[in-house]
Amino acid sequence: MAASSFPAFFRKIHGPVVQRWLFGAWTIGVFAFLYIPILLLIIFSFNNSKLNIKWEGFTWKWYGELLSNAPILHAFQNSLIVATATMVISTALGTIGAWMLYRYRFPFQRAMGLLIFIPMVIPEVLMGVSMRAEFVHLLKLPLGHVAMIIAHTTFCFPFVLVGVQARLQGLDPFLEEAAQDLGATPAQAFWKVIVPYLFPAIVSGALMSFTLSLDEYIVSIFTTNAQSQTLPLKVYGMAKVGLNPQLNALSTLFVIGTVVLVIASELLTRRKST
């Protein structure tokens, strides 16, 4: 009743404004939901008591204990090995694949384009279990570092490929032609002209594969062995037992690392549009 007697112009402006306020408040609430747990995690990594709600003074001691925790350091080393190898192979495969799909015509091209999306969307359990089935029963490849690198690369390189493909959309087709007219071979034109143009997308794809591999848990437990436990497997084991301030310290370091990587990657992708 009351609403319908409002002048039309008032309703027109009033409605969207109220809506914008409500949605804004909701968005703030959701950001609080997303960030408060992480902030609490960070704050309590500096608390002198063992994760009590009571603040008992600032300390670095959990970080000290973390850095002298040999099994964790070993797991971190394993993670770095796997993530670095994954990053290098994924970046190469993804970049070459994007160029191949963009510039060449060959049989089964459509099938290939679709096949690349499967590892990006398939549930991790299916990926892990089918890889394990193949490694154990068909290839007789021992589980461990190599198996993990293969499995991680399989779901990481499509992300590089898609990113590079997006940047290729903006490529001037005459750029490569000009290079070849000036005497470059196709390989030289690719290396000296195309790769530098694609560089921001390649670097952000590489960072993405590194992060994805470093964080992978499900595919890893299907393809690992006792000696090549990576950091997520260790973290899972610790979190399963219960609260542990060392884990808070580790998480804090990880969050800082991620924020730095995300911002670096964002800045690189931004350059894409200019």
Binding site: P16, V18, I38, K54, R110, I116, E124, E134
Partner: protein
């Protein structure tokens, strides 16, 4: 899924494309080999394994038996599938309700603010999911922040159980997959035609009506994409349901994992995996149909 078919359709069109030389073939061979060897062959191995029989610890004989599937169609295992699907559906629904207004707000913000808000969504997305799950454990567990507050304030005499419940399991999934819902909806909102919304208001629609009849239908591609991106991974994300829900009731991912490690019934695990694969394919098919409508 619309994006995939569009991308695939683009591939054939361009006259600018050329046939590869033999050097180019040599460079491309590793990628093709990789896709065959590590995408197609593993899936086939899994399906083949599901028709085998376990002999002793590590060996499996391929006998083309249907026994593993007969075993799978039993109430115990169907219930496991049902729990997983139910958790995933709940997660998808809750993410949609929580995420839509956020995506809409970000999509309708001025451009400079939009990028900052998007980065704020992306940071949790890239932070290790185990760390984010552990953050909730420190809040919800018996010695956690909520309980120590409740006990200290004498609201409850002793710690209450919040962690290791289905509620906590779904909370963990929602917390983890929310950005997957926000990002595709945001993309749809950003593409919204302003004139359409203004027209709705000019013609006298109230905000609620404009929203339900104009804005939501126009952004449905984003909603479908977000729903797929949340539903598909959360159906088998047993790391979160185990850590937060205590693994009770068990979900399908964990059951498959156990068959391959402690259960030592790999062909049976492979049969459950094949069924999960069928659910996955079915989900994509539905998503594709919906986005084509």
């Amino acid at each position: 899924m619309a994006g995939i078919s569009a991308a695939a359709a683009d591939l054939g069109a361009s006259a600018y494309k050329r046939r590869p030389s033999w050097v180019a073939w040599l460079v491309f061979a590793p990628l093709a080999a990789w896709l065959i060897l590590f995408v197609i062959v593993p899936t086939l191995t899994l399906v083949a394994l599901s028709f085998g029989e376990q002999r002793g610890l590590g060996t499996v004989e391929f006998t083309f038996t249907l026994e593993n599937y007969q075993r799978a169609f039993n109430w115990t295992w169907l219930k496991v599938f049902w729990t997983s699907i139910w958790y995933a559906l709940l997660t998808t629904g809750i993410c949609m309700v929580i995420g839509y207004p956020v995506a809409y707000y970000i999509g309708r913000s001025p451009e400079n603010m939009r990028n900052m808000l998007l980065t704020l969504v992306m940071i949790p997305f890239w932070t290790s999911f185990l760390i984010r799950t552990y953050a909730w454990i420190t809040i919800l567990s018996k010695e956690g922040l909520i309980n120590s507050f409740l006990v200290a304030a004498r609201i409850v005499p002793e710690p209450i159980t919040i962690l290791y419940t289905p509620f906590a399991a779904v909370l963990g999934l929602v917390y983890n997959y929310l950005p997957f819902m926000i990002l595709p909806i945001y993309t749809s909102v950003e593409r919204l035609d302003n004139a359409m919304i203004e027209a709705a208001y000019d013609l006298g629609a109230r905000p609620v009506r404009a929203f339900s009849q104009i804005i939501i239908p126009l952004t449905s591609p984003g909603i479908v994409a977000g729903a797929l991106l949340v539903f598909v991974p959360s159906i088998a994300m047993f790391a979160i349901t185990n850590l937060m829900g205590g693994g009770d009731p068990p979900t399908i991912g964990e059951v498959i994992y156990k068959q391959f490690t402690s259960g030592r019934a790999q062909p049976f695990g492979a049969a459950l995996g094949t069924l999960l694969l069928l659910i996955f394919i079915f989900t994509l098919w539905i998503g594709r149909r919906r986005s084509e409508e």
